[in-house]
Amino acid sequence: MTDPATPNKLPVMIGIGEFHVGTEPMMAIGLGSCIGLTIYDKDRHIGAMVHIMLPDSSGRSDRPGKYADTAIPLLLAKLTEAGCHKASLVAKMAGGACMFEYFGNNLNIGERNAQQVRAILAANHLRLAAEEVGGKAGRTVSFFPGESGKVTVRSADGAAHEI
């Protein structure tokens, strides 16, 4: 039997295009050009995380978490449903790397993803409190709504730090 109150329970894994809203730890592993975006309500201690792959949905609606332009309104709607107010929400993001320079010329998707996330957050009047984007290395992002919305970033060598 597993104890539902066990403090060491595994984080909710957020795969590409997936999202989650709640108070439990969440994690997106191995972000390359993808962005792990978290939004935390500092009054209600609820958080949301999404694993964004591309900047624009171009009207597609089957996987709203996959695209920056649909993912952010989606998280905002879910957080509002949970009783959150926009004024107490803070966003953080990590990812958006360019891992293969040779292929990066016309399609640096990581950079475009990060730009689009910034633009859509601004258009929705959401504050971006921290970001760690770009570079050449992959990142694993963990989000702890239960610990004041702490966000940690880990690299392939295992080193982790808070952003």
């Binding site: 795969g15 592993i29 191995g30 390359g32 792959m53 089957d62 891992m99 292929f103 392939a156």
Partner: protein, 204 residues
């Protein structure tokens, strides 16, 4: 795109022929026998990609498939970081299995990847008369999921499922465990399957 079991078998056979050439080449480079697994074709939803390629550190030597289809997808020489050290130690005459990888190793890995990808594509071209040429290589040594995720995001078509086409190559003597992975765009896949079906129809 959905593949029938006959098409899966045909693609597996194609992988067999391509990988067999690559395995022979690797075996010659290492002067030791290299064993090869049966090619595995898995259709993976992008949200589940982390179950197949996790956080482990690995070297990826990546080539874009060019030729008759300009952006045909990717062919990847994948090797875990640990195996990469064993492989380059063998090539460079070194012995320390715990040393960090340096520029010399990176060149060696790119060279092996180049030779393997070319062997794979030569074999499939000979069989199908369909030319796929490798682009110049790109290398990363980092989290496996992050690397494959970046490639999937760069693919031409909007996709929710990835066709992972992989064959393991193992050299026990040098503790090298590597993989050749193909990530075809759907146009490439359609062409490969058409050619394979024609080949089977025309018979021996």
């Amino acid at each position: 795109m959905k593949l029938s079991s006959v098409q899966m078998d045909a693609m597996q056979e194609l992988g067999n022929i391509g990988a067999a050439h690559a395995a022979t080449t690797l075996s010659q480079m290492l002067s030791s026998p290299v064993e090869m697994s049966v090619p595995r074709i898995t259709v993976v939803d992008i949200s589940q990609l982390a179950d197949h390629m996790g956080e482990e550190s690995a070297a990826f030597v990546v080539f874009e498939l060019q030729g008759e289809i300009p952006h045909g997808g990717y062919i990847i020489f994948y090797i875990s970081k640990k195996s990469a050290v064993h492989l380059t130690n063998t090539m460079l005459g070194l012995t320390d299995p715990d040393r960090p990888l340096n520029e010399m190793d990176e060149s060696a890995l790119i060279e092996v990847g180049n030779i393997m990808a070319s062997a794979f594509l030569d074999a499939t071209a000979e069989l199908l008369g369909f030319i796929m040429l490798p682009s110049p290589p790109a290398l990363t040594i980092d989290m496996a999921h992050a690397a494959i995720q970046t490639l999937v995001a760069q693919m031409q078509e909007e996709i929710n499922e990835v066709l992972l086409f992989s064959t393991e190559l193992v050299c026990e003597e040098h503790k090298v465990d590597s993989d050749i992975i193909m990530l075809p765009e759907s146009t490439t896949l359609t062409t490969l399957i058409e050619r394979l079906e024609n080949l089977m129809k025309s018979g021996p």
